[in-house]
């Protein structure tokens, strides 16, 4: 089935009132999804993987991340905040987890859970999956949705290497729903709200890979909720800090979102790669057969993983340190036996109720390179691109509205641009030589 026309949901949006068409985002985009048209940045929905590189590159804050209406919460009797451990890492060292929880209660949440609750179950499921798929050596984690989309669009041959299973967020939200219904709470009354560190996770919640719907009622941007909590903290109006209930988190679990926090649970041959450039380089090597990993490759497109997410207000290194200290503390508590543990689920219950829902049947490859289904036609197109490219100056100046000269050449044969877009094509040959050789020297190609 060819479903290249079914767009992914995207959380990143350009505010055309603010955008100046400066080309910064276009040059930062790792999938060449952005063009400048009529002075504004335009994102190609089929190529965008919601990684947020454009958001980081924009000096004008013209790129924003859509979030659900916060008042959506009012529709539910029970409002569950599903927060990643990363959220706790956003606050200063002396702010305790229980203080943060108390603020969230005051904001209106009836229940607060950290996403990493499901992690220990999930590790076992992944290990089982890996043992069952003997034809694959290199397993890529499905955790970072930007990585999954990157593979779908740029490395379609590696889709089969992705572990076709759900991630902690899905598992924990299902567990909570089951748990609350066990407590006698009607599931229609429960709204689970996910606090996201990035655009990729929002997009994944809104159009989950390989499925139609997700058990999440709404998404809240992490920076938005951070501001609300910070406001209460500064007013010192938060209620009595209460002991943290419902905890079945180990210190190791809450490090899951940091680089290496996932791979450490698998054997020694596993890898942890963070940062967009590193991820792409590693995927190229896996694809070429240069690297074969007999184990799991954890990959996250953000530097330092999710503490480097674009919606995280705190410095990623400070956030990382805070999580590491907290993990140490939890470990200490567990060792001293002064830790309240409350398992949401026993292993048997999990195996019976949740485990069967954890598989993802298909992840569709959707190559964004493919020019045409017919190889003859595609070959002709490649030839035309090469011809046009040979006539362009090759300096990737982006004034044409495309990120590189070769991207412009491709746009031209797809009839999305013309050679007129290249400003240099308007210079008389003598001027071209005179002007450009002064700047770029002998290497400049003749037009």
């Amino acid at each position: 089935m060819d479903d290249t026309n079914n767009f992914f949901y995207h959380a990143l949006t350009v505010d055309h009132d603010i955008c100046t068409g400066c080309t910064h985002c276009m040059k930062a985009c790792p999938t060449e999804a952005i063009r400048i048209r009529n002075g504004k940045s335009v994102i190609d929905k089929n190529k965008c993987i919601d990684c947020g590189e454009c958001f980081k590159a924009c000096s004008y804050h013209a790129i924003y991340i859509k979030q659900d209406d916060f008042d959506l919460m009012d529709q539910y009797k029970y409002k569950v905040a599903l927060v990643p451990a990363t959220f706790i890492g956003q606050f200063a060292g002396d702010v305790s987890t229980s203080q943060i929880y108390a603020c969230l209660k005051q904001i209106g949440f009836s229940h607060i859970y950290e996403i990493e609750h499901g992690v220990s179950f999930l590790i076992n499921l992944y290990k089982k999956y890996m043992a069952e798929h003997k034809d694959i050596n290199t397993f890529i984690s499905p955790y970072c949705p930007a990585v999954v989309r990157l593979i779908q669009t740029r490395f379609p041959s590696l889709v089969k290497n992705i572990i076709h299973m759900k991630v902690p967020l899905d598992i924990t939200s299902l567990m909570i729903r089951e748990y609350l219904s066990k407590e006698g709470i009607c599931s229609e009354d429960v709204g689970v709200f996910y606090v996201s560190p990035c655009a990729a996770k929002i997009a994944a919640v809104k159009s989950p890979v390989g499925e139609d719907s997700s058990a999440i009622a709404g998404v809240i941007n992490m920076d938005f909720l951070y501001n609300k909590v910070q406001h209460l903290l500064s007013k010192k109006t938060q209620g009595e800090s209460e002991p943290i209930a419902n905890h079945s988190l180990s210190g190791k679990d809450i490090l899951w979102e940091l680089t290496g926090g996932e791979s450490v649970n698998f054997d020694n041959s596993s890898f942890a790669i963070d940062g967009m450039k590193n991820v792409i380089e590693f995927l190229e090597k896996i694809e070429d057969g240069d690297i074969e990993v007999n184990g799991l490759v954890e990959m996250r497109v953000c530097d330092q993983s999710c503490v480097g997410g674009i919606l995280c207000p705190n410095n990623r290194f400070l956030a990382k340190q805070k999580l590491e200290i907290r993990a140490q503390e939890i470990k200490q508590h567990i060792e001293n036996n002064d830790y309240q543990e409350e398992e949401l689920f026993s292993e048997e219950e999990f195996d019976k109720k949740i485990a069967p829902m954890m598989n993802i049947p298909t992840i569709t490859p959707r190559s964004s390179f493919k020019l045409h289904d017919n190889l003859q036609i595609a070959l002709k197109m490649v030839e035309n691109i090469k011809n046009i490219e040979s006539k362009l100056p090759g300096i990737d100046c982006s004034a044409c509205g495309a990120p590189t000269c070769s991207a412009l050449a491709e746009d031209i044969i797809k009839e999305e641009a013309t050679i007129d877009n290249c400003l240099f094509s308007h210079l008389p040959p003598e001027k071209y030589d005179e002007l450009l050789k002064k700047i770029w020297g002998k290497n400049i190609k003749p037009l």
Partner: protein, 136 residues
């Protein structure tokens, strides 16, 4: 569709540029991933050999609707015994080359198994020309 690339003697870091470039084109053509992998492996190994064992050279690639032909021609010193060179594990790689992770003597055998047609012409003191064909 014709492409040419230069191979610089001793420049290991740059080797792989040709195969990377060809890979992108094959993805644009939507060639099946298994063939792409075979092509990239064969071309990369041949390129590395010209860098490691010869004095650089040139790559010519032709892509047709059913196949790719890659010709890697280097400038000397030639291979004295092709049968021996084709043997798994046979290598004359220098200590320096081995330290860079090459020299397992698997390059030519890998080229053989990843191509549908392979022709090696060599002349001592002049150079080696390897012609590889993979059908899509």
């Amino acid at each position: 569709m014709h492409y040419t690339f230069d191979i610089e003697e001793g420049n290991f870091t740059n080797a792989g540029q040709a195969s990377g470039n060809i890979k992108k084109t094959l993805k644009q053509l939507n060639v099946n991933p298994a063939s792409i992998k075979r092509i990239v492996v064969a071309l990369y190994e041949a390129e590395i050999n010209a860098v490691a064992h010869a004095y650089g050279g040139k790559i010519d690639v032709d892509i047709d609707s059913d196949k790719i032909t890659m010709v890697v021609a280097d400038r000397g010193p030639g291979i004295p015994n092709i049968d021996l060179a084709m043997t798994e594990g046979y290598s004359t790689a220098s200590k320096e080359v081995r330290e860079m992770g090459f020299g397992a003597g698997m390059g030519l055998p890998n080229i053989k198994s990843n191509t549908d047609q392979l022709d090696i012409q060599t002349q001592l003191g002049v150079g080696t020309t390897i012609t590889m064909t993979v059908f899509f």
